[in-house]
Symmetry: D2
Subunit: 262 residues, 4 copies
């Protein structure tokens, strides 16, 4: 995980924010530098500075040195691929009781945005089992997790979940796939009794197929939600929401694995 000290030290992953709020994540290697449109920042001038400090580029432009935040790390991964958004991730974590020590299956890995959040939350004592069929996506995810030293909390599996999962008695299974309804028998086998199932699907048609499939496989306490997030402009004398917002990412579906009384 990220360094714990009050200052930026050699080898730390750091977050530099430009005057125009552009965010750079870089490894603070001695002798290195970051070149931007607003000038160059030399890493040797940054090493030893407290987090939160303003750093001037050689052009005198004002950058800020921050310890990377989870939400912004996730957002950065988003730039390249379709990911689950922070607004959804936070709710998923709470709805599925994710926390330190938990064992969680995720499929597919994608570029590793949600994997990052899961690995962050389960910690060293937990484990994320992350399934993906495309080698290049898995490679990208591994690279993203490595950068944060979170890869030890994850078992990456290059495997089609149509063949089932390798694990049993996991606390939670989350599917981010077009056809989650096709894998529910495997999900039941991998989950501990009473465990948490979750999925995200973008269309109502997928919802309509997932719901009866959950019933058929004895999942109960089905909860379907969608989350709308609205930002405000931080101008206290002209306070108002931003003009535009994300209207839709996906429908979140949660359920618990149950079994009948004999």
């Amino acid at each position: 995980m990220l360094s714990d000290g009050p200052t930026a030290e050699p080898g730390d992953l750091i977050q530099l924010v430009s005057p125009s709020k552009k965010i750079y994540f870089v490894r603070l290697n001695p002798g290195g530098e970051l070149q931007t449109h607003r000038g160059v920042l030399k890493f040797d001038d940054i090493i030893g500075k407290p987090w939160g400090t303003e750093i001037l580029s050689h052009q005198g432009r004002s950058f800020y040195l921050l310890q990377p935040s989870l939400a912004e790390l996730i957002q950065e991964i988003r730039r390249n691929t379709q990911i689950i958004y922070p607004k959804d991730i936070g709710y998923i974590l709470v709805a599925m009781s994710i926390g330190p020590g938990k064992k969680v299956i995720e499929a597919g890995t994608g570029s590793g945005a949600f994997t990052t959040a899961l690995a962050w939350m389960v910690g060293e004592k937990g484990c994320v089992y992350s399934y993906e069929t495309r080698q290049e996506m898995q490679n990208l995810a591994i690279k993203n997790l490595n950068r944060l030293d979170l890869e030890e909390n994850v078992e990456f599996r290059l495997q089609d979940i149509g063949e089932g999962f390798c694990e049993e008695f996991v606390d939670a299974v989350f599917l981010d796939l077009p056809n989650p309804y096709d894998y529910l028998e495997h999900v039941r086998s991998a989950l501990k009794p009473g465990g948490h199932f979750g999925a995200i699907v973008p269309t109502v048609n997928q919802l309509e197929r997932l719901l009866p499939a959950l019933h058929n496989h004895q999942f109960s306490f089905i909860d379907i939600t969608e989350i709308l997030l609205r930002h405000y402009k931080p101008l206290y004398q002209r306070l108002r929401p931003t003009d535009r917002m994300i209207a839709h990412t996906g429908y979140l579906v949660f359920a618990r694995s149950t079994s009948s009384a004999q």
Copy 2:
């Protein structure tokens, strides 16, 4: 934290869900029983049952045995007091980079709903420092945390934060108080450089006072959001949102502690 086994064992905190979806949290003490409008459930009949199992009351009504989930534990605390909602809690955790090992200050404790979520997420290696001025609220929170064996992750402080915080170099400070703008100097002293500030306020008037106060105390990267959560009825042949929803809980404000280049 909660037991890790596949079955409900003596002394476990369990979640029983009635036919009408009413949720009971009870400690599974041998010889005990739960009396409900739908009949009696004897704990000796439950001990040893796998999580997720259907349990019949003496009237033959169908209950489900579940390991308590974080979201529902939080909701239960809500029944008695005003709390931060799961929709907000999830986003706060991600926005403030809460996770295993983090040190987090919270004020006020209230009935301990958000304390529960924080204690759950920081784990044994982390710590929540939770401030409250009302003895009876703190007692209620301690009781709520004890029940989940999460109290070891929390330092409860019966103290007015107007006198400052006891901690330094914490990763994050979250204020759920009517006047967060009055404590920002103390927040800066307690936070590690670059650390995360967060607050929830119900009215726009509080937002208008908080924003300039954050600027004056050198907080940057201010983000203001509100989260709307909409549930759907899980009927796949008549799929539609529920009729009503929560329209407002509060505005979430986040910022980072920063300092100028000399």
Copy 3:
């Protein structure tokens, strides 16, 4: 339509608002009175008073005398039956270019809430053709429209639209029925070329059936929307949204009748 004068005159439909904001619609017949939990209001004391005036009951409680407003008349009809809400009605009127002189078909009539809005907007030179199969619902609607002297703008038809419409070349057809997809051929026959089609359906399943049916019947420019309305508490020192809101009424669907180039 409603009286146009500055004062409440004998025979006018008036709106009285109680101290607790309860709304009464009554006909101001000389010698009459309104009995409420907050005292009695004698109509002879009200006749001749300007609209907007505070009226005291015999208990000295404060009521307000208002000319009935369209939105509140609609809301009142809602109390007894499922109706289309003002938030949806306003958008429908604009989206379908309803206005003075327009000829509009509506099915079903229901209790006449939307009929009221349509009759209000098309005026004396326009006409609403309102279809319903249940006699008692039509009677209720007629009563509601009569009260506002709007019945002359409406042709009520007790007829199953499965047998087609009596009209041709109408400007717009709006269906508030469970199965709008079953009537599109009849809708085309009744609409003038290029005319406006609109419908409201509560579930996504109905949407999924309506969309291909519209394509098959050469409707184009399909627009699907949903409208969320949030109220704020009018307290300027503690300004915030209300706690709860309507999460869903229905999906609005609009299209235009088109035909191919030969």
Copy 4:
């Protein structure tokens, strides 16, 4: 107002929609033509065609001939200036009981989008009194209204409403100005007793000033709302909301002019 016939006739204002859904509003003058990136459309080929018909350009590309719709006329005016949106306009009309024959004051005129909607709804027997201080904006609005033959329903006034309104006993006054709270005394003088006041303001700060001002000027039944509109993609096999939406246009405020019992 727009022509009432089933076919496009010489001199009609028509709406042509391109293959990429670009909308053109043009006057169908004999001998004229529309030049587009998808080819030329000669008006003599269009004259006499039924509304809704597909028209082929000289390149064989498919356009549709429609009678202009109110919502799209409003949207087109939007292209050039900041306007009130159809989602808000529809609700305002219903909330303020606008309809045929009503007398309504609007300030400021702006580019005439809301003026168009008001003129459309009050019809020939009603009147819109529209105030503006900038000559060039008024000219633009007059041009926009002329095009629809709606200018006869409007009295344009080039006048600062700080000097008061020329009218008395109007049914409704709507203010779309930065400082509606400064004109409430004039509004009361112009409104008939019990009449409808409405305003749109983009920021919460303006709301906070408007609310006490309304109280001070004896307006009652204050209602504050905001409207969120979400579109869906009309693909029945992959049905879902669009990715982005308008997050905020303004807060709508409504009130009634009242007076105390003596």
